[in-house]
Symmetry: C2
Subunit: 546 residues, 2 copies
């Protein structure tokens, strides 16, 4: 073992001993040591992703979790897009304390005034307005000339400032495909008009990191006033580099990052909050930019968003995937046992995961449940707590242990049921190889009990046809997924469906010990969304993304 | 519409009109115009990811698909790790034509000779040997001094060259956390000893793009001989930047990229082949590095790997996620209808997706099935074709249309059943709200028929306990997932399970119209893996990753 012991420093110190990350001739760094502002758009760009449909209660729960994680800004929605979105944004503005609460608005007077009405009661409101600046969007879509865009930018940002002085964000949609001189002129106009944050989105996910960083460099050079406002990055992951683009922008002095939990969002989604945050924390030696994110809340936020939106997280997803902290290979396990840092640059507990997640047993009482829910940030009382307690006991009776993940799943379903039109009374199914499956169901709607029955090829199909029979609707199943939330044969199963009714798509999700019961409930849930006109993603004419 | 029409160029031309991606003072670019070598490690690093377990037939199918996609090098496995892996690598070396077939070997004589025996029959074989170079690995794990590592590198690379002259790859494990002077010395030694490809892996996923690129710059400066060999990047995605690191290395002249389909691999996985390839293609204006990848084979490769390994792809995964090409928002749809490039930088058909994927109906014959399978690269004859045809007819009878995705799922199961010990004869289940589920099953094993039964809380649980009862094994369900492969209530459901038996983990997957039948088959499949000692990922002492 004749190694030079001077070179055996711990990992975190070794980085700076390696090759320099800054090249000779590279531009000087701006804002070293300045905290990065985390602007979370899970509830706006993220919520618009196909297949997800969050109701007002779910949005509020997520907003509370974002506050608990100390994000700096919550983009709560796009108030002018629908009365439902307006109401959700207003509730979040009134109830969630801590972060700035932001609403999105196109550059029109009515969008901006509607947005302000939704967010005005927040402790710290922000209006976020945007307009396209790329030739391709101007020519083919919004049909405006350069001078018209400049004029609108000036007038609409001034309107925002008159309503919400001191916190107005302006975005140049499709900035990365815009003529850079025109883009600079638009941004300079927005700053003069009073915008305090300037966002330069890569709307179509086209930029690569060096290129995106160089765009900020160019803009700083052309518009010196940009040094006085908060510059912001908003990246899409179409080419797989959203996080790298975001970090490259931060290295050039950008102070705000627009991100979403689990990287959800239009198409391939936005830069993932958890990846950007853990990169800043893990590579603070190189990035030299602190952030306020409470990383130990990441795992819970990720599970909550996955559960409410119905978007499953793949096993090898960075940070929050099931395998992200799985140290499997023999050589690797051997190394980690000898010295953790041989293969581990982060620890599972840094993001709030723990080995012993068991929290409650079948003898736990209502008070213990209430306290534990409060600890994980879910505040329930009265009939809602009673209902969750009833479910908890039913689960605890069948399982030996009830974990935090179980509870979050149970509460997720409870929160969702607050607004239901239909509820499942019973389902019975007979199935097997070489026999025709049969199901019978009972569904209640506004006091009336209806029954339905069906014979058909598969057990799930027979349940759904029986529900169609009871409710009098014809749904087409577009997507069906099940996963176990916890391990063990007696684990809770979570079913997610996407159903098409009359050309529109609706999502449903439910949790149960029995996958058939969960399937029935998820389908009924989707029909509830049909009844309430809550479409899943597609074809909302007033939805946009940056 | 008084716009300057001179600025309304198509998207692909606009990029160069934007800010320059190269900064003043940056190093000159190497290898502009030189094709990037795609080294696919799906079958080695990818196959080691927890929860996946590929058998020899599945590995061969994937290797054929990789050849069809024109990857340049297939890393087929780690022959010294197990007799099964040796046999799989040898079969691929003998049967798959086109790409270089590579095997991994530690820097030991026995690993290297075993590797050579497995790959020697390939048209173009490659031995890939590696050793750790970081202080943290040397001190805490492999217990070698710097001079000892240099000596081993020289001797073992020379051994590789004596067996496989002209194509030897050397990797410095944990290169990004190594002392750069020592790393340079090791790499110089490997080049002098005859290595033709030098790989600089970011084993623990610690590097950021500028830093990783600068490491190559430093190595080129310290070891001019590196200009004469193929330099290679191998990146892990722990911080979400594996693809960006890979592209940054390519921009500095690196010629080989080590990637995996769907980005699978240890922990957060490797750089995704499809993301690196589509970034090179979509941004050829900026990257200026062609590649040979047939991108229209990407969707099929992605589905095949997902199906065989049991790793579900999340909806917002770049390129191959279900939503990656979903244009959902109203403004967006409006834009795309007016002019595709307003929001679309790639097209679904570029990766082999198409709107009309319907290929066969219930009247299609055995010959049509055989031809279509051959078209999508699956060659079946004799009893195997008979069996797939029987399943195809059963599916076509229940569904109106059978798609390529359906066929791939059916064949996936068929390929898997070639080696089964247990097979499911029947399953009958009774389930419902407020009743105890009951199941009865019949399982055949080597001619004997066994039956089992169980009463319990959930329908899936009762099926699995009944199978345990029939087979005489006690399995613990660690993970359970279902998804529909195609849409419609009568779509095929795919079930994936991970089961623990006596402390070891086994995976199983199956497809059926009925989710209960698929669950039973997937569980039986996992028990087949138990019987054949085919563990899923965990605790294989001889498995490594770079």
């Amino acid at each position: 073992m004749s190694k030079n012991s001077a070179s055996a420093q711990p990992t975190s110190d070794r980085a700076s001993a390696g090759p320099s990350a800054r090249e000779p001739g590279a531009a000087p760094r701006r804002n070293v040591g300045v905290p990065v502002v985390f602007f979370d758009t899970t509830l706006r760009d993220g919520e618009q992703s196909p297949g997800s449909s969050l109701n007002a209660s779910e949005k509020l729960e997520i907003a509370h979790q974002l506050a608990r994680m100390s994000v700096d800004v919550i983009e709560a929605g796009f108030p002018a897009s629908s009365p439902g979105d307006f109401a959700a944004v207003r509730t979040i503005a009134r109830e969630v304390k801590g972060p700035v609460i932001c609403g999105l608005a196109r550059c029109t007077e009515s969008d901006i005034r509607t947005c302000w009405d939704a967010i005005r009661d927040a402790e710290r409101p922000r209006i976020h307005t945007f307009i396209s600046t790329s030739d391709i969007h101007l020519e083919h879509q919004i049909h405006l000339s350069y001078p018209e865009v400049i004029k609108l930018t000036k007038e609409m940002v001034e309107l925002c400032v008159s309503l919400c002085p001191g916190d107005v964000e302006f975005s140049a949609m499709d900035a990365t495909r815009s003529d850079v001189d025109f883009l600079a002129e638009v941004l300079a106009t927005a700053v003069v008009a009073g915008a305090t944050t300037i966002n330069v989105p890569d709307t179509v996910g086209y930029a690569l990191p060096d290129e995106y960083a160089a765009l900020f460099e160019t803009l700083y050079a052309k518009v010196p006033a940009l040094e006085k406002v908060v510059m912001s990055a908003h990246c899409h992951n179409d080419l797989g580099v959203a996080v790298a683009n975001t970090l490259a922008a931060v290295e050039r002095g950008v102070t705000q990052v627009e991100v979403a939990i689990n990287g959800i969002g239009e198409r391939a989604g936005n830069a993932a909050l958890e990846e950007v945050a853990m990169a800043l924390v893990t590579r603070k030696d190189l990035m030299q930019r602190p952030c306020h994110i409470v990383t130990t809340e990441i795992a819970r936020a990720s599970r909550m968003v996955s559960s409410f939106t119905g978007h499953i997280i793949q096993a090898n997803k960075a940070i929050v995937g099931k395998n992200a902290f799985a140290h499997e290979s023999g050589i690797h396990q051997d190394g980690v046992l000898k010295e953790r840092t041989t293969y581990e640059i982060m620890q599972a507990r840094d993001i709030g995961l723990s080995e012993s997640d068991i929290v409650l047993g079948k003898h736990s009482g209502r008070h213990a449940l209430r306290s534990h829910l409060a600890e994980i940030g879910i505040h329930l009382d009265g009939p809602e707590l009673d209902e969750v307690f009833r479910r908890f006991k039913a689960t605890a009776d069948k399982k030996k242990e009830v974990t935090t993940a179980d509870l979050e799943a149970l509460v997720g379903e409870e929160v969702r049921q607050r607004e239901d039109v239909y509820s499942l009374d019973h389902v019975y199914t007979n199935a097997g190889t070489d026999i025709i499956s049969s199901s019978q169901v009972g569904v209640s709607t506004q006091g009336k009990k209806r029954t339905g029955k069906a014979f058909t090829g598969g057990s799930i199909e027979s349940i759904m046809l029986a529900i169609d029979d009871a409710v009098g609707v014809k749904g087409k199943l577009l997507d069906y997924q099940v996963r176990s939330i916890t391990s063990g044969k007696d684990s809770l199963g979570e079913v997610r469906v996407v159903v098409e009714v009359e050309g529109k798509r609706y999502a449903g999700q439910a949790v149960s010990i029995d996958v058939l019961e969960a399937s029935a409930k998820a389908y009924v849930r989707a029909l509830n969304n049909v009844a309430m006109g809550r479409e899943a993603g597609g074809a909302r004419g007033d939805r946009v993304y940056l």
